[in-house]
């Protein structure tokens, strides 16, 4: 029996502004087991990144977590004090951000940014910390890491910077890494290299990963399990290959149809009609219903999360298995 690393139940993160109340996360439940890679897939604004920030305790004003629980190895993170949360961050749960051009501090040298992370969690000599940093940079495919360490972020390419950010996340061998679209901003070739190096490192260490992406293709190469997000909710969840082969939620079906490589040459690319709804003006009932070609009057009621098989669930009144 695999152990749970992270257990999120009914998590609701809310933003209150002049335009109204927006639930960036709307009673979201998600489990991540040891050594598992979970792909969290959705459009921009669906709440993927907010899921990561909520876990890390990095939701900023005017947002706040208003309900639910986040258990890390049986410990409710929402009940921890700021200092306890800080000591977990970067040590047991690490995060990588989307834009490598922005995630390293421009006025601090690379070695400073690596060593400070180790020093924040362990009493360690600088020399030892540097040695550790060099090993990891090498493992992330960075040539002559000793030279890179003495450079500033602006002297390095985007791919190099993201490798360093990933190395920082891996420094303390965390149990869980939240990777928020870490390869989106990179060239496809660099993206493939980094994914490969990252995969090797987490497999060796048995690290769990929450891989946040809008790209189903990337998610399918990485993830054991997929969770599809729409308007702050997880609308479908299950093993990656099952979902890709037989999506049940109309939204997932739409996403899969709109991947160019899956379409037939010469035919127009299929898209999901309309655009993602504003979180302050969500339709009542199923949030996807206005864009759904299978909607019925029943969809004006909020759909329950249906457990379809032991390992698959969908938040839809009419889940249907369709061969994609």
């Amino acid at each position: 029996m695999r152990k749970l690393v992270l257990d999120i139940q009914n998590l609701t993160t809310r933003f209150e502004s002049a335009e109204g109340i927006a639930n960036a996360l709307d009673s979201l439940s998600l489990e991540i087991y040891e050594g598992e890679v979970v792909g969290l897939v959705g459009e921009s604004g669906s709440g993927k990144s907010m899921t990561g920030y909520s876990i890390m305790g990095l939701v900023e004003h005017p947002g706040s977590i208003v309900g639910g629980s986040i258990h890390y190895r049986g410990q409710d993170l929402r009940l921890l004090g700021p200092e306890q949360i800080r000591s977990l961050r970067g040590d047991r749960i690490a995060m990588i951000f989307q834009d490598p051009m922005m995630s390293l501090n421009p006025v601090l040298r690379v070695d400073t940014q690596l060593v400070e992370t180790l020093k924040a969690h362990r009493s360690i000599q600088k020399k030892e910390a540097l040695q550790r940093a060099i090993e990891l940079l090498q493992a992330m495919g960075i040539p002559s890491p000793e030279i890179r360490l003495r450079q500033y972020p602006h002297e390095l390419s985007g791919g190099m910077r993201q490798r360093i950010a990933i190395a920082i996340a891996l420094l303390l061998e965390p149990d869980l890494i939240i990777a928020d679209e870490p390869t989106t901003a990179l060239d496809v070739t660099i993206q493939a290299q980094i994914i490969h190096e990252f995969q090797t490192l987490i497999e060796d260490r048995g690290t769990s990963v929450l891989w946040i992406t809008h790209d189903l293709a990337v998610a399918s190469t990485m993830a054991d399990r997929l969770a599809i997000m729409y308007a702050g909710q997880i609308v479908e969840q299950g093993p990656a290959e099952d979902i890709l082969a037989r999506p049940m939620h109309p939204y997932t079906q739409g996403l899969l149809r709109s991947i160019p490589s899956r379409n037939i040459r010469g035919k127009p690319l299929q898209q999901i009609p309309g655009s993602a709804p504003s979180l302050t003006r969500l339709p009542s009932g199923c949030a996807f219903a206005p864009r759904c070609d299978q909607a019925t009057p029943l969809c004006e009621l909020t759909p329950p999360l249906k457990q379809i098989t032991a390992i698959r669930s969908a938040r839809c009144h009419h889940p249907r298995e369709i061969d994609a």
Partner: protein, 327 residues
């Protein structure tokens, strides 16, 4: 780096040369000092003699080349009024002005930076609103009126602090300064506050907006995600970035502190360069006016050069120049 400094030095030379032309024309083409220097009942012969001895009878261009060649030898002419070299007169008064300017800058930084930081970290808080409101007042009140109010409150009504003069001087490391004696400090406090209030407001606003801008950036969030302490995030990750523009402004403003000390020195009868220049303008003491302007411009140029160097030391993106090598 060396090339950068050499380039800046050459530019500075150009600035100084241009300045001498402006100063010479501005000062030597306006007014006639002879009218003031000699008594009304002087004879025409006495008058001509005075004009001749001051070199005012020569063509303008000759006067300028004389001025320039004297300047290169460090000779800014002899004061018509005090009859000693004007450069000596200015350098005699310079320490008092520098002392005042440094103290004002010190107050602005020591109070302004932390206040701006606190306000930036807690926007919309009661502290933030109070300090922001106060800084608008600091910005808007005219310097001279604010000085008079300070004198009225602290010297006249409360009687806590003296209103004029520099007080007793002490010697520290061979430098005479008011900072060394209690009496000197008491004399220094009011003028220093008067001179600093505007810069203090500027410093608060600058720091606050810098912090507000940087604190929501991804690298600060990433620093939090790394589990760094709040102190390290604020003092290193935020402040080091915020300090870059602040250093520049501090440098520029220090020059203007020296120049604007004129008003403060006049109000508080502070025996610095500013008071000297006002007195000299009243008496049309040309060599002193010209000398003062030369010294001020030299100080400005020097400060800007130092700022550029400090700036490049702080921000590695400027130091190395050139384009970032992407990918």
């Amino acid at each position: 780096m060396t090339g950068f400094i050499i380039r800046r030095l050459i530019q500075s030379g150009g600035v100084i040369l241009t300045m001498t032309v402006v100063v010479f024309l501005g000062v030597y083409a306006i007014g006639n000092p002879v009218d003031i220097l000699i008594p009304d009942d002087a004879t025409a012969a006495e008058r001509d003699l005075a004009i001749q001895s001051l070199g005012l009878d020569k063509p303008l261009l000759t006067q300028y080349t004389t001025f320039l060649s004297n300047l290169l030898r460090g000779d800014l002419g002899t004061s018509f009024v005090y009859n000693i070299p004007s450069i000596d007169l200015i350098l005699l008064r310079l320490p008092a002005t520098l002392e005042l300017a440094f103290c004002a800058l010190f107050i602005a930084i020591v109070i302004g930076l932390p206040l701006g930081l606190l306000c930036g970290l807690r926007p919309g808080s009661r502290l933030d609103k109070t300090v922001m409101g106060a800084s608008i007042i600091g910005f808007s009140i005219p310097n001279f009126w604010q000085g008079l109010m300070l004198i009225m409150l602290f010297s006249v009504m409360l009687g806590w602090l003296p209103s004029t003069g520099r007080g007793e001087l002490g010697t520290v490391f061979g430098i005479e300064t008011s900072l060394a004696t209690w009496d000197g400090l008491r004399h220094l406090l009011l003028p220093a506050i008067n001179l600093s209030l505007y810069k203090l407001s500027l410093m608060i606003r600058l720091t606050r907006s810098g912090v507000r801008e940087v604190m929501y950036l991804d690298y600060v969030r990433f620093a939090r995600a790394k589990g760094l302490s709040e102190v390290r995030i604020v003092m290193v990750h935020i402040m080091k970035v915020v300090l870059v523009p602040i250093i520049t402004v501090v440098g520029m403003e220090f020059g203007s502190l020296i120049a604007f000390a004129t008003v403060t020195e006049t109000i508080f009868a502070w025996p610095g360069m500013g008071k000297l220049i006002i007195d000299s303008i009243m008496r049309l003491d040309r060599p002193v006016i010209a000398g003062y302007l030369v010294v001020i411009v030299l100080l400005f140029v020097l400060i800007n050069l130092l700022v550029d160097i400090a700036y490049s030391l702080l921000d590695p993106r400027i130091r190395l120049g050139g384009e970032p090598n992407d990918r």
